[in-house]
C-alpha cells in the first residue's frame, strides 16, 4: 500500500438520468448521505430522471420490472400488467422500514439540508415541460455548460 493521504471529498455533483424508482433513489440517497456528512451536494435531473422533480410525476415513479436483470424476473413475467405496480409496492414497503421517504418528501428533505436541485434544460425542452411543471425546490434550469460551471470543485457522479 502506498502511503498516501487523500483529501476528503468536499462536494458532490450527482446526475440522476433514469426515471424508474431504482434509477432515482440511489442518487437521492447519496446526495442526502453527503449532506449528513457535511459534504456539499447538488443534484442535476436529466432525461427520464427529470420526472422526479415534475410535480405531476414525482409520486408515480415505478420499479422497472422489464429489462432490469437485478429483478431476477423473466421479461415475460415482468411485462404482465400490474407487475411493476406490485414490485413497486413491495419495494416501497421495504424502504419505509428503513425510513426512506417518498420522492416528494425526499426532495424537500434535500432542499432543507442545503443540497441544490437543478433541472436539465435539454430534457425540459425534449419533454415539453415548463418551469410551472417543476416542484418548488428546483433552484434553476441549467444548460450543460451551466451544470459544469456549478460543479466546480465537485466529484461528478452519474446515476
Amino acid at each position: 500500500m502506498a502511503d498516501t493521504t487523500y483529501e476528503p471529498i468536499k462536494k458532490v455533483s450527482i446526475i440522476i438520468s433514469k426515471g424508474s424508482l431504482d434509477g432515482i433513489y440511489p442518487g437521492l440517497i447519496m446526495a442526502n448521505g453527503a449532506r449528513m456528512e457535511g459534504i456539499e451536494a447538488m443534484v442535476f435531473f436529466t432525461f427520464f430522471g427529470l420526472e422526479a422533480i415534475i410535480k405531476k410525476k414525482m409520486n408515480g415513479i415505478k420499479v422497472a420490472t422489464v429489462g432490469n436483470p437485478g429483478m431476477h424476473m423473466p421479461t415475460i413475467l415482468g411485462a404482465i400488467p400490474g407487475m411493476s405496480a406490485f414490485a413497486t409496492t413491495m419495494m416501497k414497503k421495504e424502504m419505509d422500514k428503513l425510513d426512506i421517504p417518498p420522492v416528494d418528501e425526499f426532495i424537500e428533505m434535500l432542499d432543507a439540508s442545503g443540497a441544490e436541485i437543478y433541472a436539465c434544460k435539454a430534457a425540459m425542452d425534449m419533454f415539453h415541460y415548463t418551469e410551472a411543471d417543476l416542484t418548488g425546490e428546483v433552484k434553476e434550469i441549467l444548460t450543460i455548460g451551466d451544470f459544469y460551471e456549478k460543479s466546480a470543485g465537485a466529484q461528478i457522479i452519474f446515476t
Binding site: 442526502n32 428503513l98 421517504p101 432543507a112 439540508s113
Partner: protein
C-alpha cells in the same frame, strides 16, 4: 477504545470520540463535547439531544434524520443549523450515543 477525562469525569470513548457507554453520560459531558465541536448548546439543541437519548433508551437505536426532523421538535433545516456538517453524527456524539449506522 481509550479513556478520556471530560468535564472532570473519566469516560471510555472510541477512536472518533463517541462515548462507548452511554450511561457514563452527563449533561456536563454534553456541554464539553459540544464545545469540542464548536457548538454552544441552546434549548433547541437539548430538544434534539433528549429526543435521541429517549429513542435510544426505548429502542436501542439512533433515530434516522427524517424521524428526528419530524418528532424532535426541530425541523430538518433547524437540524442542519444547530449541528452544521453532520446533524445526526454530531447530535449523537453530544448525546453520548454511539456513531449512527443508518444511511438515511
Amino acid at each position: 477504545m481509550s479513556e478520556k477525562t471530560i468535564n472532570g469525569q473519566t469516560v471510555d470513548v472510541d477512536a472518533e470520540g463517541y462515548l462507548v457507554d452511554h450511561t457514563q453520560w452527563t449533561e456536563g459531558i454534553a456541554g464539553e463535547i459540544a464545545g469540542e465541536l464548536d457548538i454552544a448548546l441552546t434549548d433547541d439543541h437539548w430538544k434534539v439531544i433528549n429526543f435521541l437519548r429517549k429513542e435510544y433508551g426505548d429502542n436501542g437505536n439512533i433515530p434516522t434524520l427524517r424521524k428526528i426532523g419530524k418528532q424532535s421538535g426541530v425541523d430538518m433545516k433547524g437540524l442542519y443549523t444547530l449541528f452544521p456538517d453532520g446533524p445526526v453524527k454530531k447530535a449523537a456524539r453530544i448525546a453520548g450515543l454511539p456513531k449512527p449506522k443508518s444511511c438515511v
